[in-house]
Homo-oligomer: 560 residues x 2
């Protein structure tokens, strides 16, 4: 008799499933469902580039498609496959992605009254409309409750729970008033599957609560009423309609309802794990352990590591979150990340790469990689900042933008693409350095996510810039895999250790730094860091006239 | 009986002619000849983007094509036209564009031994290989002969005569040794037409000599032997094989030879004027007078004005040159400019604009202009530096590069194009401010060159940023027109005043600044100037963290 679990991974533009054999690690089915609404699944507002919303119906339509699809694939792959041997489901999503819901737990966007109102839809993680609210929360928390801030890197972000809800209250009081409660996307889906959508029944995950909603056991859960009232009395009032306790994902959110079991072709009553964010589940799926940094390289990135919760860990300025139990039970989950990585490349290829590189986005990337892989570090003379979507770690500031310098009259698109890749790698190095400076040792880096699998050129540049070997997780779906493992574990019949051992592997191909590239990048990183601090740190004061000249010098040396 | 003159304008990528009626100003013929060699007429070196050379044969092939073509057109336009009524020829070229020649005056590139040697070819104005030599000349002149530097803005440029010749001596001693002398492109062509190519017979123009070769009457012509020997004894030795005196363009370089007269269909013996640079001739063709700034908007730009040489004029730091007689006889010619303007737009459209804007370069520009003309200043949130080819005025530094900041994940190509236009306008404003700070009044701005005629969107942005009305010269060929006027004048039968009055007009359409745009650009210029000084001025020290945030603030305000 086999044991299977299903993980569901809800990303920015699509959701996907993974059906895994918990004893062999074999992945028997995986289906992707692109969200049909908006532009690549995102509802935007032409008058404000900060708006990013989603349609909750897309999530439900996707749910059926990706689970039934995965089961079908498993039947094809393994003739004896029996869906009744699926012992649990786990779910991860992006976040903080709050959904305003009514008293029944129905998203307002699915009610007739608010079907056309963007503010009643899902506030996607990368919605940046709430920067003023984030700044105000940071300022008020610094004054009233510095301990709240310390746990999330010292600066509260516009991408997070309270900023967005407060923003909604300010710009659309009708939506705020109609929302009986707010539910994280990752909590809503398990609630739907288990019939527990009524806000007081939704089992909330500690991952989203701790990393984004300032929840911690040590101060009694969510921020206290006095603090919330200092933001707005309506938020203090909302607190009572949210939740008291949040749980790690080895806890069940409930049991699969008859109705959904029938729709999905699964056994009713199997446990559905408490939801968590994609990156945290992905880290588990990639085999995170103390000393291992998991980098999830996608449209944005997350860098996740863990430390036993018996360790002493001071505050890590600019590192977005340290939350007990958010990744592995019994460990601090430490989360950092970059607000845009793949998204920067997609922006570039969609808006600034001529068709001479190819007719499609895929062809353009392939041709640019072919051409840039023939050049050496520094040959472009270019240097970029990876801030087209702000900087999450270590500056925690969405009011930052992209920068490219070093262009001549000969600069070509693939050279700029290289500079953009390098910029994201310099950003990644800045995060690792900040962790190490605060006593979080990184012995091993395991990468996962689309870019780590598809872009060998990028991976080599990352190895050269990070200055350490980079492993790649074997699974192409580490987030969904992590979710599946929690789906299995939350029923209590199997341990996380055991399923991680069975299912989390790395590939044979490892990217090792090339010493001469490392040397050049070491020089260029110093210039990156100068620009980073000059444009990103309010207190910075200094000189910049050497930057262009040193880049020209490096270019000449490398081309010679 | 009519009086005509022919002007020849040798640009960066092509040469063109203009045949003008000196009494009516009517332009009866004009032909363009794109240089056939290299990439758009420029010989490049893939290993060094600073290299820009040309093939002198292209100039001679062009000469025949554009003169005979213009005569043909004149015959078609005016049945009674008689080429014998052409009373003179004038020539302008880019510069400093020195040509190494043998003892007969033959360019080394046209000799068998050096036909394949890039260093034996024409060193085009925008060749930037000699930056180290330029820096050394600046340093040695500052110590030994500060007066030399004062006349050329305080910094000697890699684009100029001595930098390039010294560079050749260093990197290719064989070419240097084989070169009996060096001749500016603008001096070589009149010498060819008049049979005076032997180096001691070539009549050198004061425009190129004064602006680029540190020539001035007050110190006895070219830099003295002691100074040149401090650079390299071989340069001191070369001095004796160059020239003692240089002349303004109302002087004849000689008379058209029988051989060329026959080839061209003109009367032998008509005078050919001493050559000058395109911008200086263009300023004359656009009607330059004291108080009038002529802006020649092309691949690069030149800003030219004049001041009676009876006026007192101190040094103007960073303004490339103040030379008596280089524009109008009896006036100081004052020259500034931007190393790349149209070239930046061409670089952008050729390398970074997707085909969704159009299939051709022309279509892409049209569509980008259509889209950007619908937006307001500041809406892009972008800010650029116009330094892809270095900064000629006021920083006089080729070791600078382009910069674009403010990109989000939504930034589109036409928005960047707008930011690039704005950057060049901010650069233009910086030049005007520098002139005014040093007592050179600018009452009137007349524009000429391709961009001033073809790009109304750009012209309106320029008017908004420069904050003054902009006129456009009526002639599409002001450089060639100025050359033709000197061709007419150098024979002595007609005055420059008279032919300028007859031939130099402005168009009815004038671009007037829009007050609300001016206000926004005033704010953005302060940020431009901060970046300009931060990256361009060695002594600058300060803060930059406000730049991205202020741009975001302006963007939000303008979009609202």
């Amino acid at each position: 008799m086999s044991r299977y679990a299903i993980g569901l991974d809800y990303g920015t533009n699509s959701c996907r499933s993974l059906l895994v054999d918990l004893d062999t690690g074999e992945e028997l089915g995986s289906v992707v469902f692109p969200y049909p609404s908006g532009e690549l699944g995102i509802l935007t507002d032409p008058s404000d580039p900060n708006v990013a919303r989603q349609q909750p119906r897309d999530y439900l339509d996707g749910m059926v498609a990706i689970i039934t699809g995965a089961i079908e694939q498993a039947r094809a792959a393994r003739p004896g496959f029996d869906a009744a041997e699926v012992i649990g489901i786990g779910v991860d999503t992006t976040g903080s992605t709050p959904i305003p819901v009514d008293a029944e737990g129905t998203p307002l966007a699915l009610t007739r009254a608010f079907a056309d109102n963007l503010n009643a839809h899902v506030w996607l993680w990368k919605d940046h409309t709430a920067h003023a609210e984030a700044a105000a929360i940071t300022e008020i928390a610094a004054r009233m409750r510095p301990q709240y801030l310390a746990k999330c890197g010292g600066i509260y972000s516009s991408e997070w729970w309270w900023s967005k809800i407060w923003r909604c209250l300010k710009v659309d009081p009708d939506v705020f008033a109609a929302a009986h409660s707010w539910v994280e996307h990752c909590d809503w889906l398990p609630a739907v599957l288990t019939g527990n959508t009524r806000p007081d029944l939704v089992k909330r995950g500690v991952c989203s609560a701790g990393h984004k909603a300032m929840y911690a056991r040590e101060w009694g859960g969510l921020p206290d009423v006095e603090f919330l009232a200092a933001l707005d009395p309506a938020l203090a009032d909302l607190r009572g309609r949210l939740y008291e306790e949040a749980f790690p994902s080895d806890t069940p959110a409930g049991a699969l309802t008859e109705e959904w079991a029938e729709k999905l072709g699964l056994k009713a009553g199997i446990p559905v794990a408490v939801g968590a964010f994609d990156a945290h589940m992905g880290a588990v799926g990639a085999g995170v352990q103390p000393g291992t940094l998991v980098k999830i390289l996608g449209t944005s990135t997350c860098d996740i590591t863990v430390l036993p919760n018996s360790a002493t860990l001071g505050d890590v300025p600019g590192v977005c979150g340290v939350v007990d139990g958010s990744v592995l039970p019994g460990h601090f989950g430490i989360e950092a990340g970059q607000s845009a990585v793949g998204d920067i490349f997609l922006w570039f290829v969609n808006h600034l790469v001529p068709d001479s590189y190819g007719a499609t986005v895929g062809e353009k990337f392939t041709e640019m990689e072919r051409r840039l892989s023939q050049s050496k570090p520094g040959e472009t003379g270019l240097l970029a900042l990876d801030w087209n979507n702000g900087n999450r770690t270590i500056l925690v500031d969405v009011r930052l933008t992209g920068l490219i310098l070093g262009q001549t009259l000969h600069t070509e698109a693939h050279e700029i693409y290289r500079a953009l890749i390098e910029a994201t790698a310099f950003g990644a190095l800045t995060i690792i350095r900040r962790m190490e400076e605060h006593g979080i040792a990184i012995d091993r880096v395991v990468n996962t996510g689309g870019l780590s699998i598809k872009n060998a050129t990028l991976m080599q540049i990352y190895a050269d810039i990070l200055g350490r070997p980079l492993q790649v997780a074997a699974s192409e779906q580490t987030c969904a895999l992590g979710a599946a493992l929690f789906g299995a574990v939350c029923g209590g019949s199997v341990s996380l250790d055991e399923v991680q051992r069975n299912c989390c592997r790395v590939r044979d191909l490892e990217y090792r730094p090339i010493p001469e590239n490392q040397t050049v990048y070491h020089e260029i990183y110093a210039l990156y860091r100068t620009l980073h601090d000059a444009f990103g740190v309010a207190e910075w004061q200094g000189r910049l006239s050497h930057v262009m000249k040193e880049l020209i010098g490096i270019r000449q040396r490398q081309r010679a």
